[in-house]
């Protein structure tokens, strides 16, 4: 379980996150939704420690991030996997090298052990036999899947995904959502997913937090979300013609 306790973050004079308190549960896909620019990515980067928060506390299973020594922080890093919005694959390495990278960096495994693990992870995301492709040769969906494979290569306890389905067609997006949710159930990870995609919310939203202009505006499950009378949330959900018609 990851807990954010009253965290705030500003860039210069603009406050991006305003006193957000939220918990993300183990074995569930916890969604953070909100309009583009509402602060989802900033919130996620604060959670994983890429950005320093101005106020508040973040704890990983009762280990408070801000009170940790650098060494402990580094150990937490090894327990978390992150999928970035654009995939963030290392573009001078093959798919295999990308997925193997954390293993080479942090384990003492032999090459064949590492290769087994890489092949296992690639198989898990349905990308067998792509080992020698370069990132520039991959489609959008494949890039995301390789990035997932890399994120899970170290068997993380915490999985972070920043807009895993953005830029993908609905079918591929669905596959990625399913993958994330399966991995979460299989390994009981604490999974946090940023998205503005209502399909994802309906597919995998075990728990949903709605961020509005940097504030936590609403929390609930995917079933509750359809019945809410929160105005801003309703505006967000029913922003497309399709969803409006469905509501009628």
């Amino acid at each position: 379980m990851i807990r954010a306790n009253n965290i705030s973050k500003s860039f210069g004079d603009t406050r991006i996150l305003k006193n957000i308190s939220c918990t993300f549960e183990e074995g569930k896909t916890n969604l953070i939704i909100g309009q583009s620019g509402s602060g989802k990515t900033v919130l996620m980067k604060c959670l994983v420690g890429l950005l320093n928060i101005d106020e508040g506390e973040i704890d990983f299973d009762n280990r408070v991030f801000s009170k940790m020594s650098n060494k402990e922080k580094k150990n937490i890093c090894k327990e978390l996997g992150m999928l970035f919005q654009g995939g963030a694959l290392f573009d001078y390495m093959t798919v295999e090298k990308n997925v193997m990278f954390p293993l080479s960096m942090f384990t003492k495994q032999s090459y064949s052990e590492k290769l087994d693990r890489v092949n296992f992870c690639l198989k898990r995301v349905n990308l067998e036999n792509t080992n020698n492709l370069m990132p520039s040769e991959l489609s959008g969906g494949m890039t995301k899947r390789v990035a997932i494979a890399r994120a899970i290569s170290m068997n993380p306890q915490y999985l972070f995904c920043d807009e895993p389905t953005s830029g993908l067609d609905p079918l591929t997006a669905g596959l990625i959502d399913d993958l994330i949710s399966e991995i979460t159930n299989e390994y009981q990870t604490t999974t946090i997913v940023n998205t503005h995609d209502m399909n994802s919310v309906m597919n995998i939203g075990d728990k949903v937090a709605f961020i509005y202009k940097g504030e936590l505006w609403w929390e609930g499950t995917k079933d509750e979300i359809m019945k809410t009378d929160n105005i801003e949330l309703n505006d967000f959900i029913f922003s497309t013609e399709l969803t409006r018609r469905l509501k009628k």
């Binding site: 922080k73 890093c77 654009g86 290392f90 990278f101 080479s104």
Partner: protein
């Protein structure tokens, strides 16, 4: 400006750490030797030969009294090439070629979140990305400059015998005349300092990009401009310190 220097120092503090894994560092170093050094050989060769040729022709052209022996052409060419043209001009060229490459490579990794990815894995990204590049430049540039010196002097010889202004023999006597090994030492010290400036300043501008593709372009321009200016300034300082 002072803030920028502060951030530069902080970054260098991150860079100069022991690499996480020695064997990975060595592999990276070889890659950098290839991309920062070997690939610059062509342009260095061309520029050095022509530079030496021009210096020789100009010197020969300016000697119009029989009181100055023609061996002066070889001597002057050697001195100019060793003291100034090879270490400084070639470093400026490398600032353009290698500097922009380092800045755009690291900058691209920043804007595509590859640096963030490294950091979430717990890798010290500054050390991982920048240390091999600085090390490669420090080790390799002296070799490049020595090659450039030989080619420059060779270019001068070529110019002399093709224009028949100076005989091959006179030129070679001149080149060997009054040679102090201290000049080589001075040139190599300059080269190493310039190599450090090029690699670290360019890496700095790449590392702290925020934004997108346009910023990558801006950063690599800045990298070249700043490292060139610093090279010129340090050239003066080092010359003052070492030659007077």
């Amino acid at each position: 400006m002072i803030r920028m220097f502060g951030r530069y120092l902080i970054l260098m503090g991150e860079v100069f750490r022991k690499p996480e894994k020695g064997n990975i560092f060595r592999k990276q170093l070889i890659v950098e030797f290839q991309s920062l050094g070997v690939e610059s050989l062509g342009i260095i060769a061309i520029i050095s030969v022509f530079m030496g040729a021009v210096v020789a022709i100009q010197t020969a052209y300016n000697i119009d009294t029989p009181l100055i022996p023609l061996t002066m052409v070889g001597f002057t060419t050697r001195q100019s090439v060793v003291l100034e043209f090879s270490p400084t001009i070639i470093s400026l060229i490398l600032a353009g070629k290698v500097g922009s490459r380092i800045a755009s490579e690291i900058g691209t990794m920043r804007v595509t979140e590859q640096i963030d990815a490294l950091q979430t894995m717990g890798v010290n990204a500054a050390n991982f990305l920048i240390f091999p590049k600085i090390t490669a430049c420090l080790l390799l540039n002296p070799f490049l400059i020595v090659i450039s010196m030989f080619l420059g002097i060779f270019g001068g010889w070529l110019a002399c015998i093709t224009t028949q202004m100076v005989s091959s023999q006179d030129y070679i006597i001149g080149v060997r005349y009054w040679f102090e090994s201290y000049t080589i030492f001075y040139a190599l010290i300059k080269t190493v300092v310039f190599a450090y400036i090029i690699s670290s300043v360019s890496a700095f501008f790449g590392y702290y990009i925020s934004g997108g593709a346009i910023e990558v372009g801006t950063a690599s321009t800045k990298a070249v401009v700043y490292s060139s200016i610093l090279i010129i300034i340090f050239n003066l300082i080092l010359t003052q310190l070492l030659l007077t």
